[in-house]
């Protein structure tokens, strides 16, 4: 199967220019309209998140029955999801910098997860958003753990990658926190551990803080109920990890999300960058709750086109983006949440197998195709 079904140079230079202008226009219209509505929205989210956090922690601490404890876990998990996805991720993209509110500034925001915000801004905002889906440049592509396309060389360890995928999802916040360590590059010797010491210090500081809060401080406050609280906090973190991982995988690793080579992206224009973002991202549909809890990453295409426009505007912007896609005959990758996730799982599994012409294919009976 060829992931790169659509090369990057199908449009003429004039077409490409006009296409870029149209997207610039969508962006500028949204920015010109920023105001009270956006401020109210994000402050409402912050209020909701804080209420969910307080309710969650109180229920976990004070609840007498498994039912109230369970409700507390769900509430705390929802609070962490809202904080990480709809608030933290979007604020750190600079979506609300124009408000001049010190608590919502991209460069000083720190979020409720193991990953140090400074490290995130570098690896995510810069590397991932600039080099989206470029093999070898976008380190979010498979997180240097998973093989997700035929373009990448197959190795026997990939046979077990589904297990790695599950592990990555379970410990997602720690995986993200350690992303900047570049474990793969350490292994092949292109970076040394010594160069990573400043990062490791930041990682340790933030990681300890998060661990201390959920597994030492709050349990200690509960006295004899410490175990109950630690377990509840752990489950809330697990829920957030699985959710965040699932949403993020649906954004770039669905069946039709494309990958690119460094060579074809060299010296690309702003319009070409837009074009690549469209081909490399995928959306999913669902109710308002799903969009909110995904931090509007359900509109991953719009997020990648306009990463610093307030995310709650993506639904209305997507109408215009789809019209542009239709006009220039560009695929707009969307589908139901369930369907898109199923294609992700298929892709993880299929890419774990050796390519068709690999000798292993002939030796293992169930890999043989008729």
């Amino acid at each position: 199967m060829d992931m790169r079904t659509r090369p990057l140079n199908l449009m003429t230079v004039t077409e490409l220019e006009a296409f870029g202008k149209e997207l610039d226009g969508i962006r500028e219209r949204a920015l010109a309209d920023l105001g009270d509505r956006d401020a109210r929205y994000i402050r409402e989210m912050v209020r909701l998140q804080k209420q969910a956090e307080i309710a969650g922690r109180l229920l976990i601490h004070l609840g007498r029955s498994p039912l109230t404890w369970g409700a507390g876990v769900v509430s705390l998990s929802v609070s962490k999801i809202l904080e990480n996805m709809e608030i933290g991720h979007n604020v750190m993209h600079g979506q609300y910098d124009w408000m001049n509110d010190p608590s919502l500034q991209s460069q000083s925001y720190e979020w409720d997860t193991a990953c140090d915000a400074e490290s995130w801004r570098r690896t995510h905002n810069y590397e991932h958003h600039t080099y989206t889906n470029i093999l070898g440049k976008d380190r979010d592509y498979g997180y240097a753990i998973l093989r997700l396309s035929e373009e990448e060389e197959w190795k026997p360890r990939h046979l077990l990658q589904f297990g790695n995928y599950v592990l990555l999802s379970v410990f997602f916040q720690w995986g993200v926190a350690l992303h900047e360590l570049e474990f793969d590059k350490l292994r092949d010797g292109s970076v040394t551990l010594k160069e990573k010491i400043p990062f490791l210090k930041r990682f340790a500081r933030k990681g300890l803080k998060q661990f201390g809060k959920d597994y030492l401080l709050f349990p200690a406050l509960a006295g004899p109920g410490a175990l109950k609280v630690a377990a509840g906090n752990g489950l809330a973190n697990l829920g957030r990890n699985l959710w965040a991982s699932t949403i993020i995988f649906c954004g770039h690793f669905t069946e039709d999300a494309q990958v690119f080579t460094e060579a074809e992206c060299e010296g690309e224009s702003r319009a070409q960058w837009y074009y690549r973002q469209m081909l490399g991202s995928s959306n999913f549909t669902g109710g308002q709750w799903l969009h909110t809890l995904s931090g509007h990453l359900s509109y991953q295409i719009e997020h990648h086109l306009f990463p610093d426009v307030p995310a709650h505007r993506y639904p209305e912007m997507s109408v215009e983006v789809q019209a542009v896609c239709e006009k220039y005959n560009i695929p707009y990758n969307t589908g139901s949440f369930g369907h898109q996730y199923l294609t992700v799982l298929k892709r993880v599994l299929r890419s774990s197998l050796p390519p068709e012409d690999h000798p292993l294919r002939k030796r293992i009976p169930f890999l043989r195709r008729n």
């Binding site: 105001g35 009270d36 509505r37 401020a39 993209h93 408000m99 905002n125 810069y126 590397e127 600039t130």
Partner: protein, 362 residues
């Protein structure tokens, strides 16, 4: 476990920094916030068309003020948070007595905040105020000048002077004061009743109100005619920058010393200079500066100046290069639009200086 073995202090410090705790406290009452001073807006009074006095009740933690000082207030206009500084127009005694403070604010015709204050602020709501600050205050240690005082106010520059005089009236009503008030015309006169009542409250106060529309602007001659002994008085001057510059020049020419003159800047800041050719970009933190040239971005200029600021995509996507603007205007390299003045954090890779610019964070 003894109480000493529990790290109470760091825990308490962490707790006071916690956003969640502040959220809970603010939900009980905005004035319980440990992070911000919230004042309740009790009333808005119109002094004259375009000038309003806000009557505010600060929380218990607010530290009070000295007569003549100013406070910052934070106002949201269409989602954007603005901070503006206004002089207090009441005395500290008034605050001690009633627990209220007053700010008198004149609308700046093309301002983003002041013309909309009356519409944006709602009586009964809370707004964030800063601690009071400012040096436009009685200088207790310089006894030689405090014997006699000359006060000059232009337009809304009367506000801190009202605060100073209200205090003086309580502590030294025998003080020799000359108060010269400059307003365009009678319709723009604020604190009318207060001004009328002043002479009866002081034993040695002379008040003159000049209407500049009829009598013309301040001149060295009419200033000296109104106050022949000005070089022997302590001077308090408050008004638009142009007014204060003139007064300063005239009084220095008449033998006043720099140390005698206290002034408080008022009104809108000077209009920005439209760029004509290259200008200078100054980086405050490193102390470096560079001449800006033909459309180079702030990031490129910083690098040319020998700095190595943080950056990522260099094309306006990732916001890694955000830096803090001190002053000056900037334009967006792609759209050509000016970056709004209130936006302090700017993306260095995608803005071009338009005239002289200072950057605080580099």
């Amino acid at each position: 476990m003894t109480s000493q073995s529990i790290p109470l202090q760091p825990l308490l410090r962490a707790a006071t920094r916690s956003d969640t705790l502040d959220f809970v406290l603010s939900a009980i009452s905005p004035q319980f916030s440990l992070k911000r001073h919230m004042a309740r807006l009790l009333a808005i009074r119109e002094e004259c068309p375009g000038t309003h006095t806000l009557l505010l009740q600060p929380g218990a933690r607010w530290g009070g003020f000295i007569a003549g000082q100013h406070v910052g207030i934070t106002v949201d206009v269409n989602g954007v948070r603005y901070r503006r500084t206004y002089s207090l127009s009441c005395s500290p005694q008034y605050y001690e007595r009633y627990g209220h403070i007053t700010l008198t604010i004149k609308s700046v015709a093309d301002g983003r905040v002041s013309p909309r204050l009356a519409e944006v602020l709602q009586v009964g709501s809370y707004l964030e105020i800063s601690a009071a600050s400012g040096e436009f205050v009685w200088q207790e240690d310089k006894q030689v000048y405090t014997e006699r005082t000359l006060m000059l106010a232009a337009g809304s520059g009367i506000t801190p002077i009202r605060s100073l005089l209200d205090e003086l009236c309580e502590s030294r009503p025998q003080q020799d004061v000359v108060l010269l008030v400059y307003v365009r015309h009678a319709g723009e006169r604020i604190f009318k009743q207060w001004l009328e009542s002043l002479p009866s409250q002081f034993s040695h106060l002379r008040l003159e109100i000049r209407y500049t529309d009829q009598e013309g602007e301040i001149t060295p001659e009419n200033l000296l005619a109104a106050c022949p002994d000005l070089s022997e008085r302590e001077l308090f001057v408050c008004g638009p920058q142009g007014f204060m510059d003139k007064v300063r020049q005239y009084t220095l020419d008449h033998g006043a010393q720099v140390a005698q003159i206290h002034q408080e800047s008022f009104g809108s800041r000077p209009q920005r200079v439209v760029s004509s050719g290259p200008a200078t970009v100054s980086f405050q933190k490193s102390g470096k500066s560079i001449r800006s040239t033909d459309g180079k971005t702030l990031l490129e200029l910083a690098e040319l100046a020998g700095l190595s600021p943080k950056y990522g995509c260099r094309s306006g996507i990732c916001h890694e290069c955000k830096c803090q603007r001190g002053s000056g205007s900037l334009i967006h390299a792609v759209t050509g639009q000016p970056i709004p003045d209130e936006q302090q954090q700017v993306q260095a890779c995608i803005v071009i200086p338009d005239g002289d610019v200072t950057i605080n964070s580099l």
